[in-house]
């Protein structure tokens, strides 16, 4: 009897758990922007963003796949204008991206036809996204009125990036050959984004195409006015796309309210925008304390591209670049970044202990090879022959089996214990000294480098 009561209780609890699971919410972001086309009809642009870490991925088809089923419903008054279901297939190659702060971004663009119903009745837009693997649901609905045909300005699109790009990457977000990468979440990380870009379109009124305009941008943080800018311009086209950049360097973390007004002749129109400045949430990965030294360490591996404007970067950005480099290298080696850094730190310690001379051990030739390849499988210690121009010098031959039978010959040129790399085989990243025969002598048998 007691047992059956307990069983009942368990069943009820399980039922509650299950019903909770069924109504679980998917966290993602959506934002809308309205523009006018040449016929002064409203184009609705819905941008949605699903962080990878909120989706469930299936290991299949040689990668990691998530499926996001999106249903868009638009009604006006009593009439259903649109109901459309599409499944977004999201595929990742790199396992570590699934848990990263990166996100999936997509856009739906629609023409809102003003011909149906009353012009002032807003459209009811409902967007439902379901992660098919976890059955988590994101449900968003909003009343969106059409822009009036006489509007001077469109809505404001908040972008993290506005840059020239001729690749097919994010093709939907391009205007000409320029990529406008929107941020529907409106969360901007200071260490990732140095300036916030506002994109908007300005339309000519009935008065004529030629006009002088005055833009005013204000950003408030709480009670304080943190940014103010006035721009004047002369526009000649009927429809002009403009982007304004707001530097984020001096902004403090928190919610910011933005305000853009446009003034032409006697008319004034305003738009508002909100955004959040956030601080770094993910953990930084680093092996050394000085970013300048660390970038030298990362260069040893030669697998990560170092940005060309490294010298002009601030400390925060440099730290981010380094952290991302470790993450990329760890993903290439199928390791966790911490494990990789632990392994490399071990090698650095070994180098500093054994190869240090005037400089730290890891910066020497031997240190470079040791850090990249680890301990050699075989070390041969010898002296140079008699037929060199110099007195007999110590040499070391390092052989690796794992690294495609790479082999290195180091010579203690100055006889100070600071060995220099003179001759190398099977390593495309290193060069032999052009005059290596002079150091090793004609009688040096290169077959000694074979495994």
């Amino acid at each position: 009897m007691k047992n059956s009561k307990a069983l009942c209780l368990i069943t009820i609890l399980l039922g509650i758990c299950l019903s909770m699971a069924a109504s679980e919410k998917l966290s993602m972001h959506i934002d809308y922007t309205r523009f006018l086309n040449d016929a002064h009809q409203t184009i609705l642009q819905l941008d949605y963003q699903a962080p990878y870490k909120n989706l469930i991925f299936l290991a299949a088809k040689g990668g990691f796949l998530a499926e996001l089923e999106t249903t868009l419903t638009i009604t006006k008054g009593d009439s259903l204008l649109l109901e459309r279901t599409i499944t977004d297939n999201i595929g990742l190659r790199n396992k570590y991206d699934t848990a990263s702060s990166k996100s999936y971004l997509n856009r739906i663009s629609l023409l809102l036809d003003n011909g149906i119903g009353d012009k002032d009745t807003p459209y009811q837009v409902r967007f439902v996204a379901t992660d098919l693997n976890s059955k988590k649901v994101f449900d968003w609905s909003q009343e969106i009125p059409a822009l009036t045909p006489a509007s001077m300005i469109s809505d404001i699109e908040l972008c993290t990036k506005v840059q020239a790009d001729t690749t097919q990457y994010l093709a939907k977000f391009k205007r000409g050959n320029v990529l406008f990468q929107p941020e529907p979440s409106a969360i901007f990380f200071k260490h990732l984004v140095s300036e916030l870009s506002l994109y908007f379109e300005v339309y000519a009124s009935a008065a004529g195409k030629e006009r002088d305009v005055l833009f005013e941008v204000l950003v408030e943080h709480g009670e304080d006015l943190v940014y103010e800018q006035k721009i004047t311009g002369h526009l000649t086209k009927e429809r002009e796309g403009l982007s304004l950049k707001i530097p984020l360097e001096k902004f403090k973390p928190g919610i910011h309210k933005g305000f853009l007004s446009i003034q032409t002749n006697d008319m004034v129109e305003q738009r508002y925008f909100d955004f959040v400045i956030a601080e770094r949430i993910e953990k930084l990965h680093f092996a050394l304390t000085d970013p300048e030294e660390e970038i030298q360490l990362i260069k040893i591996f030669g697998t990560v591209r170092i940005p060309t404007d490294w010298k002009n970067m601030n400390l925060e950005t440099k730290k981010t670049v380094i952290s991302q480099a470790w993450q990329t290298m760890a993903a290439n080696a199928s390791l966790q970044p911490d494990d990789l850094i632990f392994m490399i730190s071990d090698r650095i310690d070994h180098c500093n202990k054994n190869f240090s001379h005037f400089d730290a051990g890891w910066k020497t030739d031997m240190g470079r090879i040791y850090i990249r390849n680890g301990a050699p499988d075989d070390i041969e210690k010898d002296q140079t022959g008699d037929d060199t121009r110099f007195v007999r010098k110590d040499i070391q031959i390092w052989k690796y089996q794992k690294q495609k039978n790479a082999a290195y010959v180091f010579v203690d040129v100055q006889m100070s214990g600071n060995f220099k790399l003179i001759y190398v085989v099977n390593d495309p990243m290193e060069n032999s000294h052009p005059d290596w025969l002079r150091y090793l002598g004609e009688s040096f048998d290169t077959d000694r480098l074979k495994q």
Binding site: K53, N54, F57, G63, L335
Partner: protein
């Protein structure tokens, strides 16, 4: 005379010989699995059991012995075991590198001896998810069945064994159709015990589990067994590793033939790389090719490779008309390997005014292939070669 017949018989059997050695490397140990087809076991006349000695030696490239295992077995004679495989496993520790595993399989009662060599390439990364071995026992004789749905004879045990190195949050084992829902799936508790909604309970060591499937035999007859691993927001799904005819592949075809078969499916770029590989590295580059085409990342199992192997084996079974004209080399064999079994076949063996022909239709890819027998000896040749590419 009698001896020579036995000798001929033994040679014939050795030709069918198909063992496999699988190594799964984890942080603390390396599991080596050896599978021997039951059909290769030779019993003395009227004997109930056969006594065998199995020894496996694993050597590094420098011929240095890295591991060794020896076992004496007495194998039960039972017709239910036909076509299954006998599993042996041992635990050792191997560092990353290239190894040669040599297995010697000696019949202690009759005296015949066979050996088998396989190269093992262990990468620096650990095996993320090993194979899920279903191990059945019949009168204490362990075997890997060909299917879990036709085990109608009385078994003394049926277990599912699998190891893994990923930090799995939970493991889900289900029989029957089930939605991917972590709540209804297996939940692993803090003591490492896993349960699932069908009540299968088992105790788990970190990194491996063992499930008793015997009580669920009746359900297994109707529903497939599925295994799922959850690691944060990634799910891995797989099926148990059953013994199959594609096992014969590695021994039936020489590395050169395997290379020629891969040509059927390799892209131009892949083939230009593969064709320049020296003879000695054929098997290694074939492994590399398949690693790139593995549909399930993380798992040791490569479903695409298994599918290809079973297609080659089936093409050979279906279209071989002479020892020297192998089925896989024929036009029909090539199409079979590339596109799988056709959805529809229509043929006329003795048409009055034309050559005998066969038409294969693939509805999904909207392809049709015409084969005609111009020689009159059953060597059907593809007529519309343009369709193939």
């Amino acid at each position: 005379m009698k001896n020579s017949i036995i000798l001929i018989f033994m040679i014939l059997v050795s030709a069918l010989n198909a063992q496999d050695i699988i190594a799964e490397r984890y942080a603390s140990h390396t599991d080596v699995w050896v599978l021997i087809p039951y059909n290769n076991i030779i019993f003395a006349k009227n004997a109930e059991t056969a006594r065998y000695q199995i020894s496996i030696v694993i050597r590094t490239d420098k011929k240095k012995q890295a591991a060794r295992h020896e076992e004496t077995l007495s194998i039960l004679r039972d017709e239910h075991l036909d076509n299954t495989a006998l599993p042996f496993s041992f635990r050792t520790n191997l560092s990353p590198g290239k190894y040669t595993a040599t297995m010697i399989f000696k019949n202690l009662s009759l005296g015949d001896k066979r050996d088998f060599t396989k190269t093992l390439n262990l990468g620096s990364e650990y095996s993320e998810i090993g194979l899920a071995y279903p191990i059945a026992s019949l009168k204490n004789q362990k075997f890997i069945p060909t299917s879990l749905s036709n085990l109608s004879f009385p078994l003394s045990d049926l277990k599912l064994i699998q190891s893994y190195s990923i930090p799995a949050d939970s493991i889900w084992i289900s029989i029957g159709d089930l939605n991917l829902d972590p709540i209804s799936g297996t939940v692993s508790d803090l003591t490492g015990n896993i349960y699932d909604e069908k009540g299968i309970f088992t105790s788990v060591n970190p990194g491996s589990y063992e499930v008793n499937l015997l009580p669920y035999l009746p359900i297994l007859k109707e529903h497939p067994l599925k295994i799922g691993f959850f690691e944060k927001n990634i799910r891995y799904q797989m099926a148990p590793f059953l013994f199959n005819n594609w096992y014969f592949y590695g021994l039936k075809y020489s590395p050169r033939e395997q290379m020629e078969q891969i040509r059927y499916i390799a892209t131009q770029n892949e083939w230009s790389t593969l064709s320049s590989v020296p003879k000695g590295q054929y098997l290694e580059s074939i492994d590399h090719f398949w690693a790139k085409h593995d549909p399930s990342p993380g798992t040791i199992r490569n479903e695409a490779r298994e599918d290809f192997y079973s297609r080659v084996a089936r093409a050979d079974e279906l279209f071989t008309i002479h020892k020297k004209i192998s089925g896989w080399k024929s036009d029909r064999g090539r199409i079979y390997i590339k596109y799988g079994p056709p959805d529809d076949i229509s043929s006329e063996i003795l048409p009055t005014d034309r050559l005998p022909y066969i038409v294969w239709t693939y509805y999904k890819s909207n392809k049709q292939f015409y084969f005609s027998d111009s020689g009159g000896f059953g060597q059907y040749q593809l007529r519309n070669k343009d369709e193939e590419f």
